[in-house]
C-alpha cells in the first residue's frame, strides 16, 4: 500500500531507502534545476574534477525549464520535462552523491541500476501541471549558465512539492507495475 512522506532536502540514504515505488512524497527545502544542456556541463566538471556550482551531496535535481516569471513572482510555470534526455548523465550525478531526480517519463536500465547502487530515487511530477507546481516554488535564483535561458541552473526553495516515487532503491518501477495492473491483453 502506497504511503505518504514529507521530506526535507538534502536527502540521506536513510530517507531514500524508506521509499517504495508508488509512494507520494511532498518535498520541502532547496532543490536544483538542470536540463540536458546544463547536465552536459555539470558532468564535464565532474569528469575534470572541478567544483560544481552547488553541493551535490544529497541533492535533488529537477528537470525543468520554467517560463519567465511575471513581475513580482519568483518563477513562472514550472512542470517537469521528459527525463530520458538526462539518462546518460544521471548515473554520474548519482555516483557523486545526488540522491533524487524529479521529471516525467521512463528511465533507462542504467539509471534504475544507479538508483539501486547509490540509493537514488527517481520521482515523477505531473507533466503539464506547471501553474500548480510553480506555486510550490517560493524562491528561485540562477546560480550557473545564465546564457542557457530557461535551461540555466537554478536554486529553488520549495514547499510541499508533490511527487510520486517512480524508481526506488530496490529496482522497482511504477511505470511497469502500474501498466501491468491495467493492461487488457
Amino acid at each position: 500500500m502506497a504511503k505518504t512522506y514529507y521530506l526535507t532536502t538534502p536527502l540521506s540514504s536513510e530517507d531514500t531507502r524508506a521509499l517504495k515505488s508508488g509512494d507520494i512524497v511532498y518535498i520541502s527545502g532547496t532543490i536544483f534545476t538542470a536540463r540536458d544542456a546544463a547536465h552536459k556541463r555539470l558532468v564535464e566538471l565532474i569528469e575534470k574534477g572541478e567544483e560544481l556550482p552547488f553541493d551535490i551531496e544529497g541533492s535533488v535535481i529537477y528537470f525543468v525549464g520554467p517560463t519567465p516569471p511575471k513581475p513580482g513572482d519568483p518563477i513562472g510555470s514550472a512542470g517537469p520535462t521528459t527525463s530520458y534526455r538526462m539518462d546518460s548523465y544521471s548515473p554520474i550525478m548519482l555516483e557523486h552523491g545526488s540522491k533524487g531526480m524529479i521529471g516525467k517519463g521512463k528511465r533507462s536500465q542504467e539509471v534504475k541500476d544507479a538508483c539501486k547502487m547509490y540509493d537514488g530515487i527517481y520521482f515523477g511530477a505531473t507533466g503539464g501541471a506547471g501553474a500548480l507546481l510553480g506555486k510550490k516554488i517560493k524562491s528561485a535564483e540562477v546560480i550557473a549558465y545564465p546564457e542557457l535561458g530557461p535551461e540555466a541552473v537554478r536554486k529553488l526553495e520549495v514547499e510541499n512539492f508533490p511527487v510520486t516515487v517512480i524508481n526506488d532503491t530496490y529496482g522497482n518501477d511504477l511505470y511497469q507495475m502500474g501498466r501491468e495492473m491495467y493492461e487488457v491483453k
Partner: protein, 283 residues
C-alpha cells in the same frame, strides 16, 4: 477585394496566443473531467485531478498551463478576395506570435538545431511560427492555432506502408507508437492520425487532426468507427495518466484520410499531450 489591416491580424493572433497559454479549451477540460470520473486507477485519478486543478489555477491567475508553451502552429485559410494592407500575412502572424509570447510571459522554445542556441534574440521571441497556408474562396481569413509542446511531438512518427498493410496494419502501428511512448507524451493524450496522401501530406494531416475538438464526430462514418476501435485499443494498453498505470491513456483519436498513390499507404501519428491548447478565429 476586402482589405484587412496588417495590425488587425497581429492583434488577433496575439490575443489568441495569450488566451491559449492560460485557458484550457472547454472540449479538453470536459473530456478530462469524464476521464477522471471513469479512471479505475487511484494514482491516475489523482494525476487527472491535479491536471484539472492546474487548469483552474492557470485560468484564474493567468499563469501558463505548462512551462512548455510550445512552438506556435497555425493552419490558415486565406480567402481569394482578401488583401492584407501594410505587409505580408506571414509577417503579421509571426509578429502577433512574438507579441503574444512576450506579453503573456510564455517561454521562448525555438532554438538552432545543433548549437541549441535560443533564437529569441536573433530570429525573434519563439519565432519562426510554423504556418500552413491554404487558399479558399471568399473574403475572410480563418486561423486555427495550437501551442505544440515538445514531449508529445518527440514520440510522433510517420511511415509509408505497402497497401496490403490495410486498416489492421495501421491499427497495429498506432498501438506500437503509443505503447513505446508510455508516459512521455503526458497522457491522457489525443492521437492525430493522417492516412494517405504523400509522406508529408500524411504528416500535416495528422497534425491538423489534433485541431479538431475532442468529442466531435468524424464526418466519415468509416473513419469514425476506426477512431473508436483505435481509442479502445490504446486504452487497453494500461499506460494511464502520466504513465502511472490506468484505463484512460487517450481522450480521443482523430483521423484525417486522403487519397493516395496506388503503390503506397502513408500513415503519420502525431501525439498531443493532455494540455491540448488549440483555438480558432475568423477575421
Amino acid at each position: 477585394m476586402r482589405e484587412i489591416e496588417f495590425d488587425e491580424v497581429v492583434k488577433a493572433v496575439r490575443n489568441m496566443i495569450i488566451h491559449c497559454g492560460t485557458d484550457l479549451p472547454q472540449d479538453t477540460y470536459d473530456a478530462l473531467v469524464v476521464a477522471m470520473e471513469e479512471e479505475k486507477s487511484h494514482v491516475s485519478k489523482e494525476v487527472i485531478r491535479q491536471i484539472l486543478e492546474n487548469a483552474n489555477i492557470a485560468k484564474d491567475e493567468k499563469r501558463p498551463l505548462c512551462q512548455d508553451t510550445g512552438l506556435a502552429v497555425f493552419f490558415v485559410k486565406v480567402g481569394d478576395e482578401v488583401k492584407i494592407k501594410g505587409g505580408l500575412l506571414k509577417d503579421a502572424i509571426n509578429k502577433g506570435t512574438e507579441q503574444g509570447y512576450t506579453d503573456a510571459y510564455l517561454r521562448a522554445s525555438t532554438c538552432e538545431p545543433f548549437s541549441r542556441a535560443n533564437l529569441k534574440d536573433t530570429v525573434g521571441y519563439n519565432l519562426p511560427a510554423i504556418i500552413h497556408f491554404d487558399i479558399v474562396a471568399g473574403d475572410k481569413i480563418d486561423i486555427e492555432y495550437a501551442a505544440k509542446g515538445g514531449g508529445s511531438e518527440n514520440v510522433s512518427r510517420a511511415r509509408v506502408f505497402p497497401p496490403a498493410a490495410g486498416k489492421e496494419g495501421i491499427i497495429e502501428y498506432v498501438k506500437e507508437v503509443i505503447s513505446d511512448a508510455g508516459g512521455n507524451p503526458c497522457p491522457p493524450i489525443t492521437v492525430g492520425i493522417g492516412i494517405g496522401g504523400t509522406f508529408e501530406k500524411a504528416a500535416i494531416s495528422s497534425k491538423h487532426a489534433l485541431f479538431r475538438d475532442i468529442g466531435s464526430k468524424n464526418e466519415d462514418p468509416e473513419m469514425d468507427e476506426m477512431e473508436q476501435v483505435i481509442l479502445d485499443e490504446i486504452n487497453n494498453l494500461g499506460i494511464g495518466a502520466m504513465g502511472m498505470g490506468g484505463t484512460k491513456t487517450a481522450l480521443a483519436v482523430h483521423i484525417e484520410s486522403n487519397p493516395c498513390h496506388i503503390a503506397s499507404l502513408p500513415v503519420s501519428v502525431n501525439v498531443q499531450c493532455h494540455s491540448s491548447r488549440h483555438t480558432h478565429i475568423t477575421i
